[in-house]
Symmetry: C2
Subunit: 309 residues, 2 copies
């Protein structure tokens, strides 16, 4: 799947992933009203509103982008109806041939990690029946527990051509609290140590495009750190959060890319899915034209990124 | 809720938490057949079999234990039907007055962490309606992203008297890969550094029993480390995995407790919920008597733990 992702980035000339992280206050009134009328102003109504909203965003952007990244927390909070909307969003995006990065950031071990792995990127067995449940192509994972929290995903990555992005350096203000500590009496920082581990874990999973099925999450808000990690992890694709709403610019994250313009895919959520609410777009698009504003935001982001690569 | 947990541990004289981590091969045939006949041998059938199984385990043990800890991965793998079984299991356990520790190990920041927080231990709003969705009393969290991945839960802990257990030192074989690195040129290890951070984060949330709403996960497989962390974190309750199936004995984990026998709650999953399959119990209990075997396993574990405290 990492090879397919790289090819799609080449074809679209766009290293943008659209973060499908809906919130009720992003959803236009007419979509909410329709969902609440039909399913009630409760958990199911919210979940169905998310799904309808996502479908329009996908319809308006799928030809321009390689991938979408739904953030499961936004759906999970609405209970089982929310999880169904997450699953249905993924199915719809796949029907448009998009690569799916499930932002789940799970962290567990042994049979627990196997359960996550089978559910999200593998197969779940019930008696003699086998089910693909969530159907992400990639998922994000947290490595604090060590390799035995990652290894249960490797088999499914191989069997079903899936992949993962492991947290190395995150984009949030407090990320340095743990990730920047110096390791074992050296000047090496934990995020560098993690980067080397993730790179090593991925060695046996490198595809024909030269990148491993095990990628890394590298926040765009730390310019020098992106450059450092790019050098340390030559075969690792980076998933880069933090562009736009979190304050990072295209030049901040240019160091996450290789000279050929590959090596990183950059997420934007709010800046695309709620573009119609931004000053930049709100005069040109009505609330009902929200998806067209998202399309324009994707085009603008693509140009912004490509101008720095 | 930490005060309620401590009081329940005192009343039951039992620091055992039953891990509700069902797997289909733990479920007796008659329960599976009934569920599959009614809901099909698929995701919903599996989810309903888990719920029926859990209810019998809860019925047979609730008077002996303070708390249960459902592991969400086991349910999540079965999609939205699985998540509903997780929610229904929690509701049933609460109806028996048990404290619920949701083992979710989430790790995210900002509005994403808020979504997890509101869904699991807070309230989710849809229009003017407010919903309690998962209804755990405590949840587990992964701290690799720093305090801004923990802080979004603090408000709900205060508003709704909830709590959390933050991963400090886990019980798995590779846990030392990251958690044992030495920090910033000192001999202090990362799990000690994390322990002190978690202790500090919890300072403003200490209840009348002397323990904070922010607890720590401390694996039982590392005897000396438990003793070290107990000394470093005097106001932090420990959730201790690793007893039984993972190889830790009561004497291994005794150091996680204070002299008064408080300070830690010990999880056992397989060893209790699948007791009827163990050599120790299988001659005395038929498959249909699985819940009675679980009850006996709880009694035996309570005695084993109390003999070392």
């Amino acid at each position: 799947m990492i090879d397919i992702l790289v090819k799609k980035i080449k074809v679209t000339k766009n290293p943008t992933v659209v973060g499908l992280d809906p919130r009720l206050d992003y959803i236009p009134k007419h979509i909410k009203e329709e969902a609440f009328d039909k399913y009630g102003a409760g958990l199911e109504g919210a979940a169905k509103a998310f799904l309808a909203f996502n479908k329009e965003i996908i319809d308006a952007t799928y030809d321009l982008i390689p991938a979408v990244k739904p953030q499961v927390a936004m759906y999970e909070q609405y209970g089982s109806a929310g999880m169904q909307a997450y699953i249905d969003t993924i199915a719809y995006a796949k029907s448009k041939d998009l690569v799916i990065i499930g932002d789940i950031k799970r962290s567990d071990i042994a049979s627990t990690a196997e359960a996550y792995s089978d559910g999200h990127i593998g197969r779940v067995k019930v008696e003699s029946n086998s089910f693909e449940v969530y159907k992400e192509d990639f998922i994000t994972l947290n490595p604090y527990l060590g390799y035995d929290s990652i290894e249960p995903y490797v088999g499914n990555c191989k069997s079903y051509d899936k992949g993962m992005f492991v947290l190395v350096k995150t984009s949030n203000p407090n990320s340095g609290e743990i990730q920047d500590i110096k390791v074992n009496g050296t000047d090496e920082k934990l995020y560098e140590y993690m980067g080397k581990l993730v790179s090593k874990w991925g060695e046996e999973l490198i595809g024909v495009e030269g990148y491993s099925k095990i990628g890394a999450v590298v926040g765009a808000t730390h310019k020098e750190q992106g450059i450092r990690l790019r050098a340390l992890m030559p075969n690792t694709y980076f998933l880069v959060p933090g562009y736009g709403a979190q304050g990072a610019t295209a030049s901040d994250l240019a160091g996450c890319f290789n000279k050929d313009g590959l090596g990183a895919i950059v997420n934007s959520s709010r800046g695309i899915i709620a573009a119609y609410k931004l000053n930049k777009y709100k005069d040109n698009y009505t609330e009902k034209e929200f998806a067209q504003a998202s399309r324009q935001a994707v085009i603008d982001m693509r140009e912004d990124l490509n101008s720095c690569l």
